[in-house]
Subunit: 108 residues, 4 copies
Amino acid sequence: MTEPLDVAKLQRRLAEFAAARNWQPYHTPKNLVAALSVEASELVEIFQWLTPEESAGVMADPDTAHRVTDEVADVLAYLLQLCEVLGIDPLAALDAKIDRNERRFPAP
Amino acid sequence: MTEPLDVAKLQRRLAEFAAARNWQPYHTPKNLVAALSVEASELVEIFQWLTPEESAGVMADPDTAHRVTDEVADVLAYLLQLCEVLGIDPLAALDAKIDRNERRFPAP
Amino acid sequence: MTEPLDVAKLQRRLAEFAAARNWQPYHTPKNLVAALSVEASELVEIFQWLTPEESAGVMADPDTAHRVTDEVADVLAYLLQLCEVLGIDPLAALDAKIDRNERRFPAP
Amino acid sequence: MTEPLDVAKLQRRLAEFAAARNWQPYHTPKNLVAALSVEASELVEIFQWLTPEESAGVMADPDTAHRVTDEVADVLAYLLQLCEVLGIDPLAALDAKIDRNERRFPAP
């Protein structure tokens, strides 16, 4: 039986992966945010010439669906590695941000 | 007692937040990836003129630490909303990607 | 009488501006490309929630027109400074690229 | 004898290139800024794992020099096409921006 996936388990896998390849010296916060933004742009690249309607149907094509899922994984990988090196809890950060946004943009 | 944070719970909060403000029409996949890349760049902006060493110490300053944490939350928010509208499980996507990377870059 | 604007003259102004403020140490190619991508994302931010039609009418509003023009200037500023530190002639680079694209994508 | 390169001439070549391939419908301002940011990120990708020192020596390797020059051309191509569809004069925009910056950041 495998334990269910969670953020901490994925961060552990990512840290072990980087350590086994001696990649940690490259993983400064500055480099990780650059890599994160590059992966986010690779997602944009998939959508850049699509109409809004075409963009909504992107998962119907298996190749594009695979590409999008792959880039989502890359963005998440760099985000979790950044959080690891900076000591940020990403889920708590988002939860707190939604709280602030609820005060900032009151629902009508 | 509050239930522990997890990705599904945050996606639910984000969906309710957007629905209460009638923001869903704006949340096409194309727009969400653009917003994701903009937030990733706001992270880059914090680090753009720092040396690698300065970038490693960024959490020592409370104001910068808050700014970084806030941008991390924004990136995660758009990533989770994108996954929601496209039906992607982000943790499973990353787990599968690490599997592929382990085959692609064998540890020495 | 002022001489007409050209790329070389603007590069000279940018270099003098940076030198007068001792900013050259920050202007490594790595930092300049980061800054360039951040400014490009500030352009994206203006358009991220607009429909294609709304995006075409963006110059009709004077405030938005000013913002767009300002971000265009910032992108060009970092691109020209990058070219300066790397010894790239941007107009010749683009001319050569169009030549290559004409062979790569023959007109129907 | 060829006329010397200038921005207007390159914009004309880019417009003819797009028109010959019927690409104008894709060239909404929203799509062009997305493409611009994607190309800027392809520049970042070349530099993302380099130290500041390595980044300064990037043109010594002919392959990397070609890649950087090619991406610079792509960024400039989308910037000029954006200016064309929006009616912005990029050199005048930058000249005016340097004027404003000289007032905003007085030299010491």
